[in-house]
């Protein structure tokens, strides 16, 4: 486990809290390494992320690739409006849709 990602798991869900403020060339490798430990429903939490560039997007795409290979679902949560705009520009949102915290409530109860 890296210092850059904090995990929370319940049932089939893993929430990966990205704890760095910059998802960039410096943090990309450590973030991407976590794609080896996904769950059937994996949620990347961006609440602490202030900046994402294309090196960071490449790291996030490794989660997309891993999820597709395993048949898992991948979501993003607490994505700022600016980052939602960037994800839309590169059509990342097609492969990692944004969900709300309340959408996970049923899984937490189960």
């Amino acid at each position: 486990m890296s210092d850059i990602i904090r995990r929370e798991e319940f049932g089939e869900v893993a929430i990966l809290y990205i704890t760095t403020t910059s998802v960039d060339a410096i943090s990309a490798a450590a973030i991407a390494a976590e794609c080896q430990a996904m769950r059937p429903i994996t949620v990347l939490d961006f609440s602490e992320v202030a900046f994402i560039n294309s090196a960071g997007i490449s790291a996030l795409l490794k989660f997309v690739v891993s999820a597709r290979k395993a048949g898992y679902k991948l979501f993003a949560m607490h994505v700022s409006l600016h980052h939602q705009k960037i994800f839309k520009m590169v059509e990342m949102s097609r492969f990692m849709p944004v969900i709300e915290e309340r959408d996970l409530a049923e899984y937490r109860v189960a």
Partner: protein, 141 residues
């Protein structure tokens, strides 16, 4: 005209220094928070290109970044000391299923820059490449 100049070694950690400076310059220019985020991302992409593709991470080579505020215009020039490039593709580049299958997960930088700034120029020679980004105060959302 007001001018800020930075020179960083070709180590990606120093891209963060340029990005922090971009935020301050954007703020001084009177940009909105959203426009500052656009500026930071565009400059980040340009600087990373200069570090990776221009100077090939040779820390002995510098990336020069010049911010110039001139009236309603903010111009940023990012220069590397590489061998130059033949062609720049600023076309739309999005995540495609075929690229995911092929493991091609990079290449969004120039497209993002072109979308986030008002004007982009590239000049290149055997002495290096210069990206000139222009953003206008009146153009902000």
């Amino acid at each position: 005209m007001e001018r800020v100049e930075l020179n960083i070694p070709s180590n990606p950690i120093f891209e963060r220094v340029v990005r922090a400076s971009a935020a301050e310059v954007g703020s001084a220019f009177g940009f909105s928070t959203e426009r500052i985020e656009d500026l930071k991302l565009a400059i980040s992409e340009a600087v990373n290109n200069a570090i990776d593709h221009g100077n090939r991470r040779d820390v002995g080579k510098l990336v020069a970044v010049v911010f110039e505020i001139d009236g309603e215009k903010l111009e940023i020039r990012i220069s590397d000391e590489g061998g130059g490039i033949d062609k720049v593709d600023v076309g739309r580049h999005t995540v495609e299923e075929a690229n995911l299958e092929a493991g091609q997960l990079r290449g969004f930088g120039m497209y993002l820059i072109s979308e986030l700034v008002d004007d982009l120029e590239v000049s290149s020679s055997h002495r290096g490449t210069v990206l000139t980004l222009r953003l206008y105060r009146r153009g902000q959302p």
